[in-house]
């Protein structure tokens, strides 16, 4: 009764799942894209949300930055190559060329309405110190001298070129040499990627196009060389490697599993259900995760694709059970085992979801929904497939026979003690495991040639420390100005750091107090008694002054907000100011290269709200804390699962099921520690998957222990499919993926041996329990 209702319900659910999948892929199919941002591999987790945002945005800005370095035999050729390259790059979709003209235009737009609040030091001095005739004289002299100030604002808005001068001076202060005296034989063209270019194929196409454009310019302007560098080129290579790995591994794993199954069952018909369950499992996991998140990371897809090794197990257990068991009447035990193994696997994966890192959550969702859909598919379709009685697993039987004498000699006490020793050992080496393998730059394979180019570009162009900056937080704008001033004074006391080379918006925009003073000073030109009308008269200009005076009068409370300016200059400059909904603000200070960072860290620690931040350090710290949390969860997870199984089976021996994955995890961690092989967060994730697999094997062995060697044979086949697919992941060219694969390969091998030991131990009557049949509720 239970069997029939389970199968009927599964078919109904399968129809719903397939309908939903058809709907999803019809609607989203053409627009499916994968994220490939490397920053997503490293969690950002600072003390507050605003700092998190700042670090993430600065990290993203750094990642999106592309620099072209032009070198040549003479300045004229370099200039010609620069002009040509700029012309060509302007036509490239997805690329934003940052130049001083764009920065200036953005600055003009941002400050236009509040221009009366902004004065350069010289202008302030001129208005503060001079009498009325001197101010007029100074304004006229500026206008009639050789070399007119660039007219940045419209002539009717700024007939004195007064605000144009302010903006020019600000731009020059932000970008040294903005107006340029550069006659060097080396120059650079900075650019940034627009956020849309994260799809693998788009990245590859853009990378190839940029390299091609650079080589065409080199050909057009002889004796020049152009190098292109930036994190994008590494990301594009890594993404391309990932995609290529994913295709190869999935194809070979699928082929390997199909060949294995055909060798065992000698029936093509039987392959239909495993293939369907794999397809529906992966499609369901993908569709659910894709719908829940804004997009899926390509790493999630690779790990998700490895589910093929687990999903296939369900069909295998069914077919082997059907052939070797007493018939369909005993399916209830099988279904209970399948459902129990699904519950424990989902339980284990949900722990990954608690890590707080989006990629791990994506993998957890992908796995949980993929496995559930696959099981529904197996229960719905497997009974419909015509069975025959042959199962060609002679070589598996031979393997079990050879392993059995050795395994049956191992007493349960020895296994339990080994597991406990392993657990204690893991606690002992916990610190090493947590502190190793946290460098995100080691997650992907670095292109050495590109690294050399990046170093050359960095040496020639980089003014500020990459990925390291000062964060100054405050309750409001004025608070940040006060803290920045305190910090600068404290640093200057040390005497060894020149703070004038630091880049911060507090150097560009005056504090609210100074803005108010500037506005009042501007009244000496634009106010009721200002010199504006006299200037027009002296210069014989016919521009209407009433509107300018009204603009001045109406803008008294229009202060320039640093956060607005930072937003307006996005693309031309890194984001340097942040504000949240509560009004709290955060200023970013870029640090010039070569500054004593240790001293900066020491001084910043002394002032409240000031901190020295490094994207890499924060990522390392984030990975470290996630790993610490993940490791800490292993023991409670094991205890909970053991409690759950004891509650289901109501027998003390059921607790031994948990021994298998715990032993596996502790042995693999110990093995890596002895070899000095760093354990990454993703390897920890692999261990969680191994826990799921180990529990599956244990539950099957325990659930159908009365049916001869059925469980061992089924587990051997499923372990082989898992090891085949995960073993292939170990061959990936991406370190983080190969580490994942290797961990699962080792852990699942231990799981298999553990499950075979448990089966041998149970069958040899070492359990002193009277009733063999399970009484699961």
């Amino acid at each position: 009764m239970f069997v029939r209702s389970a199968e009927t319900s599964a078919r109904l659910i399968l129809v719903v799942i397939v309908t939903l999948l058809i709907g999803f892929f019809s609607i989203r199919g053409p627009n499916i894209a994968f994220e490939t941002e490397l920053l997503d591999l490293a969690p950002i987790d600072t003390s507050d949300a605003l700092s998190d945002r700042a670090v993430k945005e600065l990290g993203r800005e750094f990642q999106s930055r592309i620099t072209f370095l032009i070198q040549g035999s003479e300045a004229g050729r370099v200039a010609a190559a620069e002009t040509l390259l700029r012309e060509k790059l302007r036509l490239v979709e997805g690329l934003i060329l940052s130049d001083n003209i764009a920065a200036r235009q953005n600055l003009i737009s941002a400050v236009s309405a509040s221009r009366f609040h902004l004065l350069s030091d010289a202008q302030r001095h001129a208005l503060e110190m001079a009498d009325r005739p001197s101010i007029l004289n100074s304004l006229v002299m500026d206008r009639i001298g050789l070399g007119a100030t660039a007219q940045l604002f419209d002539i009717t808005v700024d007939p004195l070129a007064w605000h144009s001068r302010t903006v020019s001076e600000i731009v020059t202060s932000i970008v040294p040499g903005a107006l340029g005296t550069n006659d060097s034989v080396v120059t650079s063209v900075p650019a940034a990627l627009s956020s849309e270019v994260f799809e693998v194929d788009e990245q590859q196409a853009l990378k190839q196009r940029l390299i091609l454009l650079a080589s065409r310019v080199e050909a057009a302007v002889p004796n020049t060389t152009i190098s292109a560098g930036g994190a994008f080129f590494h990301a594009a290579t890594a993404a391309s490697d990932s995609k290529s790995d994913m295709i190869k591994i999935t194809a070979v794993a699928t082929l390997g599993v199909v060949v294995l199954l055909f060798a065992l069952f000698r029936s093509l018909q039987l392959l239909v259900v495993p293939v369907c369950s794999v397809a529906i499992g992966i499609a369901s996991g993908f569709a659910t995760a894709y719908s829940m998140f804004s997009g899926l990371h390509v790493i999630t897809l690779i790990f998700g694709a490895s589910l093929i090794g687990i999903v296939i197990d369900y069909s295998l257990h069914f077919f082997i059970h059907e052939r070797l068991s007493l018939g369909s009447e005993s399916r209830s035990g099988l279904y209970r085992a399948l459902i129990l193994s699904l519950i424990t696997s989902v339980f284990a994966y949900s722990v990954l979801g608690g890590s707080g890192q989006e990629i791990l959550i994506q993998v957890a969702v992908f796995s949980a929904f993929g496995l559930s859909a696959a099981l529904v598919c197996v229960i719905a379709l497997c009974p419909l497939v015509k069975q025959n009685s042959k199962f060609h697993d002679g070589w598996i039987m031979a393997f079990i026979s050879k392993a059995k004498p050795f395994l049956s000699k191992l007493p349960a006490k020895a296994i339990v003690i080994t597991t406990l020793v392993g657990l204690v050992g893991c606690i002992y080496i916990r610190d090493w495991v947590i502190s190793s393998g946290n460098d995100p730059s080691n997650f992907v394979r670095a292109d050495q040639k590109q690294l050399q180019i990046d170093r050359r570009i960095s040496d020639a162009t980089l003014q500020f420390e990459p990925g390291t900056f000062l964060l100054i937080s405050g309750a409001n704008t004025a608070d940040i100005f006060v803290k920045t001033e305190a910090f600068v004074q404290r640093i200057e006391q040390e005497g060894s750091i020149d703070t004038s080379r630091f880049l911060t918006l507090t150097k560009v925009i005056p504090s609210p107090q100074v803005q108010r003073e500037n506005y009042n000073l501007s009244g000496r030109i634009y106010g009721p008694d200002g010199v504006l009308d006299d200037f027009m008269s002296v210069m014989s200009l016919t521009i209407e002054t009433a509107r300018l005076k009204a603009d001045y009068a109406n803008s008294q409370n229009q202060f320039i907000e640093p956060s607005d300016l930072s937003l307006a200059m996005k693309g031309a400059f890194p984001p340097l100011w942040f504000r949240d909904d509560s009004g709290a603000e955060l200023s970013v200070t870029l640090i010039p290269q070569g500054v004593d960072l240790a001293l900066l860290a020491k001084v910043s620690g002394e002032i409240d709200g000031v901190s020295l931040s490094s994207v890499l350090d924060i990522s390392r710290q984030g990975l470290r804390s996630k790993k610490a949390a993940g490791l800490a969860l292993f023991l409670p997870l094991s205890v909970l699962v053991a409690g759950f199984l004891l509650a289901v089976y109501r027998r003390a021996s059921a607790g031994l099921i948990v021994i298998i994955p715990v032993l596996s995890v502790s042995l693999v961690i110990g093995f890596f520690t002895i070899l000095g092989y760093p354990v990454t967060l993703f390897q920890l994730m692999a261990l969680y998957l191994a826990v799921g697999l180990g529990l599956d094997y244990g539950i099957f062995v325990y659930e159908i222990r009365s049916e001869g060697q059925l469980a061992e044979r089924a587990i051997c086949v499923s372990a082989m499919t898992s090891i085949l697919s995960f073993g292939l992941l170990a061959l990936s060219s991406i370190p983080v993926v190969s580490g994942f694969g290797l961990t699962l390969l080792l852990a699942n091998s231990v799981n298999l041996m553990g499950a075979l030991w448990l089966a041998a131990w149970l069958r040899d009557g070492q359990i002193r329990e009277a009733t063999p049949a399970p009484t699961a509720s």
Binding site: M141, L146, G147, A148, Q151, G177, L179
Partner: protein, 227 residues
């Protein structure tokens, strides 16, 4: 289809090609480069200057006198609309002097750049001009200086120079990258005696009101002595 045998012999074709190149080269080499020569070491001139805004409606006009010495530099003395002066020393130092004789250094990049180019033009410093500009013919009797470097191009489109009615008169048009155009007309060029001490000579030409500006011409030689 061209029959090679029917064409001119190869050495003739070579000569023809060389001639074609020579002609084209001759056509593109400025023949008005004498406008850049400075036949006198010390001279004065009247000037009128007009700054045209991109709107095409508003202009700023100024006029005055210049005094140039080939070992010290240039005094740009404005009489209208207000009395003031700018001093461009050949060592690169630049100053402004207001109506009250108050001296301040010129710091604006565009002022310094244009002042430097004008000093080089007046002193006939073709080496410096060659480094920064390409020369092309402009109209019938003029020459145009096109910036070579990207940094200079961002500030200036070009400077055109034409001769005036008098042989020594010049019409200089400075086209800025922001579409503002400064037109400077020099007239009444007068050679000044080189024997007299430069500051006194300058004061004698420009008047006592320019004393502060003229004294700054000595700055360069004073710096040299200090060193």
């Amino acid at each position: 289809m061209i029959n090679k045998k029917a064409g001119a012999p190869s050495h003739t074709r070579f000569v023809l090609v060389v001639l074609v190149f020579a002609c084209s080269k001759a056509l593109t080499t400025p023949n008005n480069q004498n406008l850049l020569d400075s036949p006198f070491c010390r001279f004065s001139a009247d000037f009128s200057q007009q700054l045209a805004f991109p709107d095409g409606v508003n202009f700023i006009r100024a006029s005055g006198q210049i005094y140039f010495d080939c070992t010290h530099g240039l005094v740009w003395s404005v009489e209208k609309p207000i009395s003031s002066a700018q001093i461009y020393l050949l060592d690169g130092d630049m100053y402004g002097v207001d109506f009250a004789a108050k001296v301040s250094p010129l710091e604006r990049a565009m002022q310094r750049r244009v002042g430097g180019v004008l000093s080089a033009l007046l002193s006939g410093n073709q080496k410096q001009l060659n480094a920064d500009f390409e020369f092309v013919n402009h109209l019938a009797s003029g020459i145009k200086l096109i910036p070579k470097q990207a940094a200079l191009k961002r500030a200036l489109r070009g400077i055109s120079i034409e001769g005036g009615v008098d042989l020594l008169d010049r019409l200089i048009k400075i086209e800025q990258a922001d579409d503002q155009v400064i037109t400077i007309q020099t007239t009444n060029v007068t050679v000044v005696d080189e024997e007299q001490e430069v500051a006194s000579s300058c004061i004698a030409v420009l008047g006592q009101s320019s004393e502060a500006a003229c004294r700054l011409l000595l700055q360069r030689s004073l710096i040299g002595e200090d060193l």
